[in-house]
């Protein structure tokens, strides 16, 4: 009460004729405040939990940290994680860059038309692709191994339960991610630069390395970091493929700590700080690169003319790379998935009795419709709300230079680099205690998802905002528009295309989420991936496959409709 009466008085004293509480300030404070709160709540509980003895009577302990940083187990897992993540990130970027170069800069036949399909792997849950690959490449009974045996007589050619197997599945998945970002960067480089190099007698390959590579390097660096973090936080692949090959990562260890009896969430939270450290080092490294990158003025995004390199006979090979990637990342696993979903159980010994529609028939009751509604609410509607939130937030962050803004910015990174399973526990702990009507609702899952993707959303919005020259906004301000009006009139419309592409990304992330939802859902707020997860846990693998097929189909359908209505996929590729 005192504050309320005191504030306007103080304002009058300080700024005559200028109201202290402007709509902008209120919005800024509300946005920063709510962001900080939503991040701080689960993080605080996690931090607190990491200092409390698991299962005990709330006794303070440093034991969790001692076990994580002092013991051999977690340190070896840490190195495993670094090795796996770095390998996948490097290979995914190499493959993604190759794909992007072929699509953007060569005359390889047919690749332009196929380009939109190249983002499909991003839309497939890697737990599901993992299981599909087990069906295909399990050492003894995998369909491909059986096929190879029948053709050549050699057994066990492929073994998906291996480090190589993990890398294979993950690279196929994340190369698409690298493809999208590198494509954007390649398209923003003026071809004049490359031509100038050709004229100086430098051959295309050398030009690519000496000219193009440095120009896209900042993009490669940020993509590397993102893929690295994604892999480090992935628990499905190390769990399903890594455990059988004896390759445990930090995330599988964290998963086991949570699933242990008695559960050790505190230990898991302490182990999570290792991932935070990785992300912290990565972010600092990336900042340095970005600071150096400012001198590359050509990255203005104007895009100029683009020259295509005539590959001659090699162009068919280039096409083969693109279509080969599509085949292995989408067609083959998806076919395996559809086939397996029609089986009673997964096997390569085919009999008539094996085939069934039961897996789909079971989904035809009202349950699935209910799940579909929930998933739609969270991912489609929630995705729109979330993207709007990220944009307004990063806009306000870019206009505000206060310490509060800096704090919010750093806070936004934290949940993105916290494993979702831990973040979810933080949310659970926080919201079960708070007297808010959110616990167990779809609303809480939505909030958790928004917080989870804060870093990604803000980062993407930031780079999209950079594309809108500040002059455009300034011109509106001079023309009499306040910051909010300028945002509405100028920034938002100019951002339509990048907004669309971020929505696509966020929609897929939200739609596929298991890690957060499985901890936070209730019978009323179950989503499709959670249902899939429980089916999988209940041993109904082919039943889960049927759900996965529907899940994929729904994602494709939504993106197809969105593409038709708003051009979302094209927007993602043409940024």
């Amino acid at each position: 009460m005192v504050m309320q009466t005191a504030m306007p008085l103080k304002a009058e004293a300080r700024e005559p004729g200028q109201p202290r509480i402007t709509p902008l300030r209120m919005t800024t404070w509300a946005m920063f405040g709510s962001t900080l709160l939503m991040v701080a709540l689960p993080m605080f509980y996690l931090l607190y939990g990491s200092f409390v003895q698991d299962g005990g009577e709330h006794a303070f302990t440093l034991g969790n940290y001692a076990e994580v940083y002092g013991g051999e187990v977690f340190l070896s897992r840490f190195w495993n994680t670094v090795v796996l993540s770095a390998t996948v990130a490097v290979l995914a970027i190499l493959l993604g860059s190759l794909l992007a170069w072929v699509v953007a800069r060569t005359n390889a036949p047919g690749v332009r038309k196929a380009a939109p399909l190249l983002i499909v792997p991003i839309m497939m849950s890697n737990l599901v692709t993992c299981l599909a690959w087990i069906a295909l490449a399990a050492p003894n009974a995998g369909l491909l191994n059986v096929l190879i045996f029948n053709l050549t007589g050699i057994r066990r050619v492929l073994d998906i339960y291996s480090f190589t197997g993990m890398v294979w599945v993950l690279v196929l998945n994340y190369a698409a991610f690298a493809f999208v970002s590198v494509l954007g960067a390649l398209r923003s480089i003026d071809a004049d630069l490359e031509e100038a190099s050709y004229l100086l007698g430098v051959n295309p390959v050398k030009t690519a390395f000496s000219m193009t590579l440095p120009l896209v390097f900042p993009t490669l660096a940020s993509t590397f970091l993102l893929v690295f973090v994604f892999v480090a936080e992935n628990f499905a692949v190390p769990l399903v493929l890594g455990t059988p090959s004896g390759y445990e990562t930090l995330m599988s260890q964290i998963y086991y700590a949570v699933a242990d009896t008695p559960a050790k969430p505190g230990l898991a939270a302490a182990a999570g700080t290792m991932l935070l450290l990785i992300a912290l080092v990565g972010t600092l490294w990336q900042r340095r690169i970005m600071a150096n990158a400012k001198r590359y003025v050509t990255m203005g995004g104007k895009g100029g003319r683009r020259k295509t390199t005539d590959l001659g006979r090699w162009r068919y090979l280039a096409s083969a790379v693109v279509f080969g990637y599509l085949f292995f990342s989408v067609v083959l696993p998806y076919c395996a998935l559809v086939t397996a979903s029609l089986m009673r159980f997964v096997t390569s010994r085919l009999t008539w009795e094996l085939w069934t529609l039961d897996n789909y028939r079971k989904l035809s009751d009202g349950t699935f419709l209910h799940l579909l509604t929930n998933s739609f609410l969270v991912a489609v509607v929630g995705g729109v709300v979330a993207v709007a939130f990220y944009f307004v937030l990063s806009y306000l962050l870019s206009t505000s230079q206060t310490r509060f803004a800096r704090l919010t910015e750093y806070a936004a990174i934290m949940p993105t680099v916290t494993p979702s399973i831990l973040l979810a526990i933080g949310f659970l702990w926080a919201f079960v205690a708070l007297p808010l009507p959110l616990y167990g609702t779809l609303g809480l899952i939505f909030i958790a998802l928004v917080v989870r993707s804060l870093g990604l959303g803000v980062r993407q919005s930031r780079s999209a905002l950079l594309q809108v020259s500040t002059d455009l906004v300034d011109a509106a301000r001079i023309g009499g528009a306040g910051p909010l009006k300028a945002f509405r009139d100028i920034v938002a419309p100019a951002l339509k295309a990048p907004l669309m592409s971020i929505w696509t990304l966020i929609f897929v992330q939200f739609f596929l989420d298991v890690g957060l939802s499985v901890v936070l859902y209730s019978p009323n707020s179950m989503t499709i991936p959670v249902y899939l997860w429980t089916k999988m846990n209940g041993g109904e693998v082919t039943g889960a496959f049927a759900i996965a097929v529907l899940e994929c189909t729904i994602i494709f359908a939504v993106l197809f409709v969105a593409e038709r209505l708003f051009g979302t996929v094209r927007a993602s590729l043409n940024r």
């Binding site: 995998g142 209730s522 019978p523």
Partner: protein, 363 residues
Amino acid sequence: MKARLTLTCAVLALAVPAWAQDVAPEHADAWAFMQEAMPGVPYDLLAAACKEGTVMIYNGTWGDAQKNQIAAFSKRFPCVNVTNFELPTSERRERFVIESKAGRHTADIVQDTDPGVLDAQSDEGLILEYKISSDAQFADSLKKSGYWYPVRIALAANAWNLDNVTDEEIELLSTWQGMTDPRFKGRVGIAMSPSGGGGVTLYPYYALYKTYGEDFMKAFAALEPRNFSGANTLAGALASGDIDVALAVSETGIIPLQGQGAPIEWSLPEPGMGLATGQGISANAPHPNAARLYQEYAFSDEGYAAFNLYGGAPAKTGFADTRPVAKEEWYEYPKTFSDVDPRLMITEKTEFLALNNAWFGLK
């Protein structure tokens, strides 16, 4: 307080002849069933349960069994609307404990695959003290009398893919001693977490170690089994023929695939080794009477059968297994059970894990 009150009611009810009860006409059928299936449970419980009108079960990922039981219950007691919340074990456990401690009471009935966890929760006051009328039909090692009772027993099995093993090998697999035969080397799968995980996966190893000693475990490890992250992925690999044999794996993980027609059979060697999956009532159940009524029904012959049909092996004395698999010629239920106390495993867990990880080369 409430619990004790109801208990007193139950005791009082025993003294009062049934015919003396004023029964509301809409409850007549239910009451008639109760007198037969759960003798001694007072009419007041039915009336109070109906008044509460709803009950929430936190069950595991055995939805078919649970739903079948709920359907049967709803037929008997249409006045109580049952909702169930299907959650994987660790999430379910975490939810129940956190909600209880935060005072956000949602669950009426909870299940857990680990008796140790349920025991601990009972001691911590999270499980309501309620002795079911069929208490005597459950062995002491499979329950904590007055707190939780076993809905099934997850028995350790040696399973094989029919297409990949010989009769001789099947013979070997029907005893614990036979499974370490060197001819299985490189053909075996197990499911074990280096950090222990839930008791269900670890107990068979513990019991085998306690029963047969270290040399046995070393011979087991010498088979170089491929370790899977869970019973389900292991079962999948077995069904597809990627591995020939799965050793000391919980029967509950393989039954669904066998039911789907996968060429899997298994033995449950003597002595049977396994953990009960228990069910108790939350100490802070929002619908304590409906929860008691459901608990009574779940362990009555009819309720138990409804669950058992799609669930795991029964743990009720004198109960005839209703599962299709029980009628299979090859299926043999163990006559004896291991006397290795699962409660002891919890206290020795750290030391045992260190040994176990060393034998199996788990890091």
